[in-house]
């Protein structure tokens, strides 16, 4: 499947994109900057405001039953989102706090923001809930069923079943 029947955007889904059964993707416009691979599981809803800003080595894997309201995922690494996750509007998931769209020019290689290398990339566990305008940065490892408060800035581990809020983020409930 390369073209979404309902789409207002004339583009096709890039090669390397997969959309699971009964899933909804609002438009191929979500991938109009995407140079990497996006794999969306079954029974997912991916809504307007979501953009996959992937460099050529970028990979996003999303499990089943995820609801993604308006997330920008900007990475040239790996982002893994487990099943049954909720991601609210204006969330940004990025491999650098100064993330740029793939292919953006820069004044010189020394001046180009570089992500800190984290072998696991960014992980959002099964059943996690990410609040509005939270920022999930390289090195974030959000455990199963964790809750991330609105506006939180996460760049480390959040234990399973806990709630983390704030900038910088702190675990506030267990």
């Amino acid at each position: 499947m390369t073209r979404l029947a309902h789409d207002w955007f004339p583009g096709e889904l890039p090669a390397g994109t997969s959309l699971g059964e009964r899933s909804w993707l609002y438009s191929a416009y979500a991938l109009h900057h995407c140079q990497g691979h996006v794999q969306i599981g079954g029974d997912c809803g991916v809504y307007s405001g979501t953009h996959f800003e992937l460099g050529p080595r970028g990979r996003v894997e999303i499990g089943a039953y995820c609801t993604i309201v308006g997330a920008v995922i900007a990475t040239n690494g790996i982002v893994t989102i487990g099943d049954h996750a909720f991601i609210a509007h204006e969330v940004v998931i990025a491999d650098s706090p100064f993330a740029l769209p793939p292919g953006a020019a820069a004044s010189g290689s020394a001046a180009r923001p570089q992500p800190r290398a984290g072998p696991a990339g960014i992980r959002i566990g099964s059943g996690a809930w990410i609040g509005a305008r939270a920022l999930i940065l390289d090195g974030a490892d959000i455990g199963r069923d964790a809750v991330i408060g609105a506006g939180a800035v996460i760049s480390g581990a959040v234990p399973p079943g806990t709630t983390a809020t704030g900038n910088p983020a702190r675990v506030v409930a267990r």
Binding site: G11, H32, V72, A94, P97, F98, L100, A105, G151, N167
Partner: protein, 190 residues
Amino acid sequence: MSFDVRTVTGEWDYSALASNVQLGRGCWIERPQSFERFRSIRTPGAVLGDGVAVYGWTVFNVEAGGVVTVGPRSILVGAVFMCQERIAVGSDVIISYNVTIADSDFHPRDPVLRRLDAEASAPAGDPAARPPIEAQPVHIEDGAWIGIGAIILKGVRVGAAARVGAGAVVTRDVPAGATVEGNPARLVNR
């Protein structure tokens, strides 16, 4: 009316912009919608230097007396400018996703004046009756990087090559080369 894909790729006709928007050589503006709320009557009202890239999440909300200038080679991903008087961005600046930059509070801090503002701002209100608000220009100097989701408030000068961390809310000047993080933003040692 069919959808024109050039309005999302930066390949639309830039001469359709207001005549007081000055573009340098090699500017790229992804979407004309970035200028939908550009209402400046100043000459010029906006200046984009050579090689400036403006991604579709960037919005120039500029009031009648406002001027926004952006130096060469700066990259504006999601810079939402709220400009009453003056916002100046230098060269080689990077502004990431979901950033807000405002040179004014836009409404009175005083509650009595603010109620008057609420009534004057109503659809049937008289805009000329709005209490005057003082703007304080914002400067983002050469080579600074503004992180995802940051908010730069009125009167702030972000120094050359400074780093404003993701989610920071900046209310005070940032020294050249320094890094600030948090809400409110504080200097961090790097």
